[in-house]
Amino acid sequence: MPRIFFATDLHGSEVCWKKFLNAARFYGADVLICGGDMTGKAIVPLVSENGHYSYVLGGEALTVAADQVGEVEGHIRRRGYYPLQMTAERLHELDADPTKRAECFQEVMLDGVDRWMKMAADRLRGAGVRVFVSPGNDDEMEVDEVIRRAELVELGEGRVVEIDGFAMISTGWSNPTPWKTHREESEAKLAERIDSMASQVPDQGKAIFNLHCPPYQSGLDEAPAIDADLRLLHGGRALRPVGSTAVRQAIEKHQPLISLHGHIHESKGAVKIGKTLAINPGSAYEEGMLMGAIIQLDPKKGIKSYQLVNG
């Protein structure tokens, strides 16, 4: 009886990744699934000057001695940002040149993912735990290769994988967003992508759809309304459904046992769409809190139990 722990949208938070790996023992899970968007959104420059390092975090400008940099880097990683030591010259070079900045970002992100993969191997080697990661729309395409090379972590994207008699399909692609991220496509193409995997699943009653984007108008996809300038409307109180119609149609058509989603951090919840239990555990990566779902599967009952947790 596989016991799954699902979490998503860690966005570079190293604390959350460590908790994710430890969730196997903590919750007695034998399958860990990371639903995507694992890479961070920002680099915090630590500028080296006169033997000290200056940086700004949370709007506060700080300077620390060289021997305190390690501690500061840990604190920044906890918040889901990438700390990067650099000189003032390098800082201005990156500021002035978007191409160099993009290259720098990619290098830092891939280093981070690689470190996480090694961490997984160190912590879970011999534990009998399967770990799946499926990069999300915020993760650059090059992330896949780093995961593919990992010793213990399995790449979920675009595959049908078997988990103790259950079949899981995964994709981190989403419908278009205002941010024009790395893995976005039209609803029609997304439907094709999901269908090509779903059609390979022999028994939908034992299918797990690990689709980063939540189904449209499911209550798992409510995001604050924004204007064309990405400014939150009505004090952030107005919500709009932003999920994917392709994902919803796939769930309605195939009626898998369970569908796992993320993407919309604020829209934590668990709802029934026909026979399918759809879950978005939400994300609070910035606080270092790992929001997740524990799902106990049963060969006869399908889902024996599920629980959303804040670990």
Partner: protein, 556 residues
């Protein structure tokens, strides 16, 4: 892939952060938009004027000083909540904070009693406000006293409750985006109406008002003679001894605070919603929106009170309230006042213009203060119910949303059905009135529990606290959230003590005098505990440990 720099060359400053394009990186919400929501929550006209009509019970209390003191003390509440929002901007607000800090059981019982069970009581209170500020004065002004009388009957009160519940259900169904637009229209037109009222009061003298009062008392209510003086005399028959605005006495000033809580304690009403807002971690946004919501209202209340003192005469205004409520509660010896409806200052101001059409329009325009505000009655409740359902404490159907219209029908049923029952009790069982007077106190108790959670946060959830933007805020080495929360707690405990134990039952809620309210609230807490215990046992049998929800996974 386009990327951005913060504090970079565009501004001429050294870059502090390199951002890449990623989902959810939005620009901050407008503090003004959030202010509007907070401003509505401490509604000057609906809750404010209604709450102030009870101040006659403390005739030596200086209303203006009390209002300013309340503003100062509630600012500590605002800071406490803003800090919590920045640490844990979770959907569910009080429920989420209490359960994550104090534990799931305590969080559920303390918050669900306030944000769920107590809000049943607010539906009839809202309905009563709708009657006394809209239906009754409008009906009298338009010469239809039968309609006004209907709404003061038991059936009329119940119908008003149903109207409020129907309106709230429609708003929840429409969604916050639509209602936020309606709110903005109501906000500006309502402000316009208030400005007109202020101008009328500012340019009229007390003798103008006395003449206008006597004229309309005769025209609309059939009163004869000096109705102004007769109102003061009627108040005396119920034991009212007069009130002097210039008297300042510390004790009575404090005794007024629990009355003011009826409307000024809610600038944090939207805190249950901030979890859905990116950028809430920036403490300044929630703080300033709540702060200005509170203090703009305090300032407007001060202006309105001073104008009422100047134009109505403070003693008259207090007497009118005393006469109305003494007659309403059938106080021994109380005589009915010549103007037999609730002393609505807006209506009184309108009477200064000798034109019934103008008076009716002013009442209608000022009713937008009700309709722009009342729709959010259950909005926070539905969020708390959702949060409890996701934690599997409530059944999952409680968080169900209809596929087509996105109506949260599960939580609506849980709010509306009991509200209808409670409304019927309110309308047809007047002996239960004291229960409704406790509606403010139980919410204050919920706030107190959240405040306690805030005080202990730096020690109980070190991880969350240290990772938050407020970790560096300290006073003499003590976390600022604990100090600010401590002041808030003292303030709330003082009011709770007065509500529950005031020796002369000043607020109509003292335990020794109102057995029915003690029983009602004991039952709500017992029911909340029972729900949690049943959920715990049922879920354990399903292999779900509710204790596990908030246990932190070790990092190393």
């Amino acid at each position: 892939m386009a990327q951005a720099t913060m504090g970079g060359s565009a501004t001429g400053a050294r870059p502090t952060l390199f951002l890449r394009n990623a989902t959810g990186l939005v620009k901050a919400w407008s503090t003004f938009d959030a202010f509007v929501y907070s401003f509505w929550s401490v509604n000057l006209i609906t809750l404010g004027l209604y709450g102030m009509s009870f101040l006659y019970s403390v005739p030596d209390g200086q209303a203006l000083v009390s209002i300013l003191l309340f503003g100062v003390l509630t600012t500590f509440l605002v800071v406490t909540y803003a800090m919590l929002v920045s640490v844990m901007p979770r959907t569910g607000g009080d429920y989420a904070w209490q359960s994550r800090i104090l534990g799931g059981a305590a969080g559920f019982v303390l918050s669900i009693t306030g944000w769920w069970f107590t809000l049943f009581l607010w539906a009839p209170i809202y309905a009563n406000i709708l009657v006394v500020q809209f239906f009754s004065p409008l009906a009298y002004t338009l010469g239809s006293s039968s309609v006004a009388n209907f709404f003061t009957s038991q059936n009329g009160i119940f119908v008003a409750c149903l109207i409020v519940l129907a309106f709230v259900s429609v708003v929840v169904t429409l969604g916050m985006e639509t209602y936020a637009r309606i709110q903005k229209v109501c906000f500006w037109i309502g402000l316009g109406g208030l400005a007109v009222m202020i101008l009328i009061l500012a340019f009229a003298s007390q003798s103008d008002f006395q003449n206008a009062f006597n004229r309309e008392a005769a025209s609309l209510f059939g009163a004869s003679g000096n109705a102004y003086q007769a109102t003061i005399d009627a108040a005396k028959t119920g034991g009212y001894g007069g009130s002097d605005f210039s008297t300042i006495s510390f004790g009575p000033i404090l005794l007024i605070l629990p009355f003011l809580a009826f409307y000024l304690l809610w600038p944090n009403w939207g805190a249950t919603l901030y979890g859905e807002v990116r950028g809430a971690k920036d403490i300044r946004k929630p703080f300033w929106s709540m702060f200005w919501g509170l203090w703009v209202t305090v300032a407007l209340v001060a202006v309105v009170v001073l104008l009422m003192v100047k134009t109505f005469g403070w003693n008259f205004y207090q007497a009118a309230n005393a006469a109305y409520w003494n007659n309403f509660y059938a106080v021994s010896g109380a005589k009915a006042p010549p103007v037999g409806i609730w002393p609505y200052p807006v209506m009184f101001a309108g009477w200064l213009v000798d034109n019934h059409l103008f008076q009716a329009v002013l009442i209608i325009v000022m009713a937008l203060w009700f309709f722009g505000w009342a729709g959010t009655l259950f909005l926070s409740s539905t969020r708390v119910i959702f949060a409890a359902a996701f934690d599997r404490v409530l059944p999952s159907w409680a968080a169900n949303i209809s596929a087509k219209r996105r109506v949260p029908y599960g939580s609506l049923v849980l709010m509306i059905v009991p509200s209808i029952v409670v409304s019927a009790i309110y309308a047809y069982k007047p002996s239960f009135t004291s229960v409704f007077l406790d509606a403010t106190a139980v919410l204050a108790l919920t706030f107190l529990a959240t405040t306690v959670a805030a005080i202990v946060l730096p020690w109980v959830r070190k991880d969350l606290y240290n990772a938050s933007p407020i970790a560096s805020y300290k006073i003499a080495g003590i976390p600022a959230i604990s100090i600010v929360g401590g002041v808030t707690a003292i303030f709330l405990i003082f009011m709770l003590y007065e509500w529950f134990f005031n020796a002369s039952n000043l607020y109509g809620t003292s335990f020794q005098s109102t057995v029915s309210s003690v029983v009602y609230f004991a039952i709500t807490y017992v029911v909340a505990i029972a729900i949690y215990v049943i959920a715990f046992v049922v879920r354990r049998n399903q292999g779900i440990d509710l204790n596990r929800i908030h246990h932190e996974i070790p990092v190393e």
